[in-house]
Structures are given as structure tokens and as C-alpha cells.
Assembly symmetry: C2
Homo-oligomer: 213 residues x 2
Amino acid sequence: MNTNELVIEPERKVDFILKAAQKRLGLYGYEKTTMQEIAADIAMSKAALYYYYPDKESLFKAVIENEQKEFNLLLERKMAELNDADRMIMELVELRHTHFRNFLNLSKFRLSDHHKMKPLLKELYEKMRGIETGILTTAFLKGKASGIFNFDDATELAHLFSDLLQGIRIMQMRRMTTLEMTADENDRLISMLRKAANLFINGLKYNNIQESV
Amino acid sequence: MNTNELVIEPERKVDFILKAAQKRLGLYGYEKTTMQEIAADIAMSKAALYYYYPDKESLFKAVIENEQKEFNLLLERKMAELNDADRMIMELVELRHTHFRNFLNLSKFRLSDHHKMKPLLKELYEKMRGIETGILTTAFLKGKASGIFNFDDATELAHLFSDLLQGIRIMQMRRMTTLEMTADENDRLISMLRKAANLFINGLKYNNIQESV
DNA sequence: CTTTGACTTTTTTAACAAAATAGTCAGATA
DNA sequence: TATCTGACTATTTTGTTAAAAAAGTCAAAG
């Protein structure tokens, strides 16, 4: 009506919605965010949200897939720059940690309410793990091809490595008293992750001296 | 009254109580065991239990401490037999896993209800972890002394190693659909634990080739 | 095609009674 | 005196139901 009104191209509209949902999700988590609030944030009616997304889950699924897509893009870009298997793995550890930090609220949700975790989130988590183990498998095989690593089953190794990292994160989070992670706790966590990764890599390297794992 | 009645020497009485409590604890867990049931199991009145233990928590604390004591005894005996740092660590992994299996119900409780975990259990868990990391520290130092390991901080390393093992357990349990662990799942778990431990040890061994962790 | 207000349905919360369980105690028993 | 019990109280859990909040729907309007 008003010629001054801000009109958003339909293409971008979903981006606005996703942005608002993302903000709420990161700040308060899935359960503590209502569709009404998201709608209000972008001066929209709740019903309008349902025009773009059939339900709450779909909306948040889109948010997370969005984040994952961005993360994967960054990941692939960085991986392409590296040729060394060691460095690929260490870089993965770093990037993954940053990603973990960025969406800690969501991660916390995933970690703490794991039992009543919506199938949706579980699925997304599995996908994330698949990407991670895929890259790891590639890196391990690359290391093996260039003769610095020795092992039998790259995929199995990748899963073990992935579990190790996740396990360390979980143990760290269990020790946290508050829900927020302090800078100090973060430092300790990334330090542990690096050390574990270093030992793991090192263990693979000179593994040929004894029987293969 | 009846001369045929089974009279238990007072000394052994608490053992009967502990045995009954242990059985219930292993079968149903802390929350699902009532004092009334334990009393009934040994044909005693509930009030009598409170003569021996001031409250439910104390009783179960005694049960767990009992188990831990036995485990520690076994552990120390086995450790004393070994001189090789590698083998000490691997043996610890094996024994700890068996212990984990034996008291899986309790462990499950500890793992799943960790947030509302009674301070008591937390304390016992910490103690357990202390013993584990203590032995690990000793083993690591022994390995260092004999020149096969290279690292900076043995205690830190022990904590990392302990977390790794626990992390693997947790990740495995998360993937379990049922509450019971099948033989297959158990095999996979112990296999993973062994591999991780092997890699870890191996990583320490030839670590001196690159900078120390 | 997009948006909305008013609507219905489903889920969460609050309050409170009923049931189950932890814990107490005066007195019995040996 | 040391051990035990039945009958008790106190606390926690469970079940029920009404109110509130949130999800989700839809006819109609721009």
C-alpha cells in the first residue's frame, strides 16, 4: 500500500525467515522458540510462516541444513587446499570445533536431550557424521597411499576417530556446571581435541612397526 | 523363637543386605528398587534396614563401594603381575570393560541420567576415575622411564585417555536401540576400545620423532 | 501468489488429590 | 544392650483435570 513500505523480493523472503529462526534457535533452542515469536521478529503473521514451511520442524530443518551447507562449503574449500593427510585431519578438527562452538546451543540440545531427540535432528546429525567420516576416510587413504599411514580399514578408523572427538566433547560438556561454555573451557576442549588427534595420527604413522590395527 | 530358625551372625547380616540390594540394583537400578522390596527379599522388616543404614543412599553407596573395592583388588593384583607399560594399559582396558559390563545397569544409570545424577554417584564415579587415571599415570611414567614413551604431562595424558575410553562407551551406548547390550554390540565395543588404546599407545611410543605432545 | 485474523487441535503447565515410598520411633524381644 | 517390628509421619511420585499456550488450518482479502 504505502510506497515507502519495504518490499522484499519473494526469493529473499525465506532467507529472512531462516535468519530470524536461526537467531532464535541459537539463542534459545528449538523448544524455547515459538512460531509466533519468529513471525513477530520479521513483522509477519504466524500464518504466513506456514505458507513457506508446512510445520515447525521443516523450518528448523531448513535452518540447520543451511548451516551445514555453509560449513561443508568451507570444509571442502579448505580440504582442497591441502595435500598432506596429517594436515587435512588436523584442519578438520579445527573447523569442526569452530562449527561446534558456533552452534553450541543446538549441539547442547543434541547432546543433552539425545534420548528424546527428534528423528529429524538425529538424521541431520548422522548426515554430518557421514560427511566427517567421509573426509576422514579420504585423508586416511591418502596417508596410506603416500606410505606414511598403516592400517587395515579406513572407514572403521574414520568412525573410531569421529567417536573419539565426539566423546571428548561430551565428556567436557558433562563437566561443565553451566550451560554456557567459558573461554577457558573452550581452550581446554580444543587443546584436548588437538592432542588426541595428534596421538591418533602419530599412532597410525609408525604403526607398521608392530602388527597392523 | 523357633530353634530351627536360621540365625545369621550379626557380622554377616550386612552382607546379606548388601547382596540383596546389589541384586536389585543390577536388575532394576536405583530408582526402581524400593527399600520394602529389599527387606522382603531377606525376610526382614523395612525398619530393620534403617537400623543398619541411615537411608537408601547410604545402602547403595555401600553396595557400589563394595563392588569397587573388589574391582580395585583385582586390578591391583593384575597390575602387580605386569611390568610392561603397554600391557598394563591394555590390561586396564580389558578389566575396566569387564567391570563396565558387569554393572551395566548401574553404568547405564550413570550415563543416561547423568544430569540428575545424585551427588553420591557422581562422587563414586569420580573416585573410580581417580583410580583409573592413577594407574594410567603410573603406567605412562613407567613407559617414559624405560624410554619407550615420550610426552610432557602424564596426568593430563591419563585424563585424556580415560575420557577417550569413556567417550567411546558413551557413543556406543547412544547407538544402542535397546537398554540391554547384545553380545554383538559388546564385541564391537571392546574391539573399538582395544583399537583406540593401541593407537594411543602407539602414538606415544614413536612420538619422539616429532615434537612432544 | 501472498497474507491475514479467526479458528481448531495439540501440547504444555498448574493445581491438587491419591498412591507409593522414604524415613521415624516407642516399645517389644532376646 | 543390640536388634527388630508395627504403626506412624513426611516426602516424592503419579494421576487427573482444567487452564493456558503453542501448533497448525482455512476461508477470505489484497
